[in-house]
């Protein structure tokens, strides 16, 4: 019963789609606030424009779906779906509350890591099938970005696995103090590499809309855009749930329904920090991002593993 609730409500499908709408609205609103604007407003004035995401989704559903004739039509429509699935699958292993978990596995965190790294090849395949000049450049940048972030991400998660074990449910019970205090280096490496993975702003290199039209998403209109570009936000949802679980103590002080709410609040807090990056940083060049990933970020994530080992030795 709780498994069904987890699959269909939270952290499952309803939460994913609701998050998609809210996160896009929140991103536009936060960027607007920092730039002294209102952001989306008139669509529902009494809610501050919260229905903007819904309006955009409806617009996309009711607009023409163009499948160009020069592509492989089946792959062209199927690959955004694959990208969306690959970004949504980690949610399966992440519990939203002590027993709200879709698939309880002892090696949950390892699966999450593997699936998170698998999303990029799907995006690259998508861009390749689109066969556009801009998508091609976007695909190359996507590959290079994955080369930059995957090792720090794996190492920072490895550090947390050494600390708390690979079971995501036990990881919360094992946290006497939140992971961000126990291992701040791992949190930093996780934060930056997640920003790279979901192309948050300083690393919004693959879909830089001022350089290459929309990167891998150039050719997609209508709901294909919702599925392919929305997948970034779904990945952000997975990452923020994972971050809330590992670093902010999950549902820590509570349990049950209240615990789920606390976990969601923590995840939204992380999301807000990721989203506000859009208003703060300029975009890096691809070589700067690579140098960052293979320089200080790699060193920090390697150091975070050492910190975890020191904790383990100290605690016994």
């Amino acid at each position: 019963m709780s498994g069904l609730a987890a699959a269909l409500l939270y952290p499952g499908i309803t939460a994913i789609f609701a998050y998609l709408l809210v996160a896009i609205w929140l991103e536009r609103k936060l960027a607007a606030k920092v730039q002294w604007r209102y952001g989306p407003l008139y669509v529902s004035r009494w809610l501050g424009g919260l229905l903007q995401g819904l309006a955009d989704a409806l617009k996309l559903i009711f607009s023409e779906l163009v499948v160009p004739s020069y592509t492989n039509k089946a792959l062209f429509t199927a690959l955004p779906l694959v990208v969306f699935l690959a970004d949504a699958l980690p949610v399966m292993f992440i519990p939203g509350a002590p027993d709200l978990v879709i698939y309880r596995s002892h090696y949950g965190l390892a699966y999450v890591l593997v699936i998170l790294l698998l999303a990029t090849p799907a995006i690259v395949a998508m861009a390749w099938v689109e066969a556009d000049k801009f998508t091609y450049i976007g695909a190359l940048r996507e590959i290079l970005m994955e080369a930059a972030y995957e090792v720090p991400l794996a190492l920072s998660l490895f550090a947390m696995i050494i600390l708390y074990g690979p079971d995501p449910v036990q990881a919360v019970e094992a946290q006497s103090i939140p992971g961000i205090l126990a291992n701040p280096l791992a949190f930093f490496a996780f934060f930056v590499s997640a920003a790279m993975a979901t192309s948050r702003f300083p690393f919004e290199i693959p879909d830089a809309d001022t350089e290459i039209v929309f990167g891998p998403y150039t050719e997609y209109g209508s709901t294909l855009l919702l599925a392919s570009f929305g997948a970034n936000y779904v990945a952000l949802y997975s990452f923020s749930l994972l971050g809330a679980l590992l670093f902010l103590g999950g549902w820590a002080p509570f349990g049950g329904l209240l615990g789920a709410a606390v976990m969601l609040a923590k995840a939204m807090l992380l999301t807000i920090v990721w989203l506000i990056l859009r208003a703060i940083y300029p975009r890096l060049r691809i070589d700067q991002a690579l140098r960052l990933g293979w320089g200080s970020l790699l060193a920090i994530s390697a150091a975070s593993v050492a910190v975890s080992v020191v904790w383990r030795l100290w605690l016994g």
Binding site: L4, A6, A7, L8, G12, I61, F62, S63, E64, L65, V66, P68, S69, Y70, L81, F84, L85, A88, M92, I102, Y103, Y107, A110, L113, E130, A131, D132, K133, F134, Y136, L140, I143, L144, E146, A147, A148, V151, A154, L155, F158, I161, I162, P166, V213, S222, T223, L224, L226, A227, I286, D287, L290, R291, W294, G295, L298, A299, A302, V305, V309
Partner: protein, 105 residues
């Protein structure tokens, strides 16, 4: 069973999402929509051209390092006693990658 429900429901909702415009939206195909988008120009030339090789070293580096790190994590998960060997492997891989990436520019 919950995971199966999750997967099926997610796939079904996505397929419904992709089918919706086909049923609901007006359709009028023109030649301009059939060809690829090139920022307002009619397309010319090949889309896939020679790749920039400049940063390919990083991709090789990522493949090499990733395999060592991944294998270490997997071995550690299988048997927690190999933690020290895994740590040495990860440290060596990270240090090598760090030094190699320094020399890449």
């Amino acid at each position: 069973m919950a995971w199966l429900i999750f997967l099926l429901a997610l796939t079904a909702s996505l397929i419904a999402l992709l089918m919706a415009p086909r049923l609901l939206a007006p359709r009028r195909l023109t030649r301009a929509k059939e060809v690829r988008f090139e920022a307002g120009n009619p397309p010319y030339g090949k889309a896939r051209r020679r790749m920039v090789m400049q940063y390919l070293g990083y991709v090789y580096l990522a493949m090499a390092t990733e395999s060592i790190v991944g294998a270490s994590i997997a071995l550690y998960l299988i048997d927690a006693k190999v933690l020290w060997a895994a740590l040495v492997a990860v440290a060596a891989a990270a240090a090598t990658a760090y030094v190699a990436a320094r020399g890449h520019d």
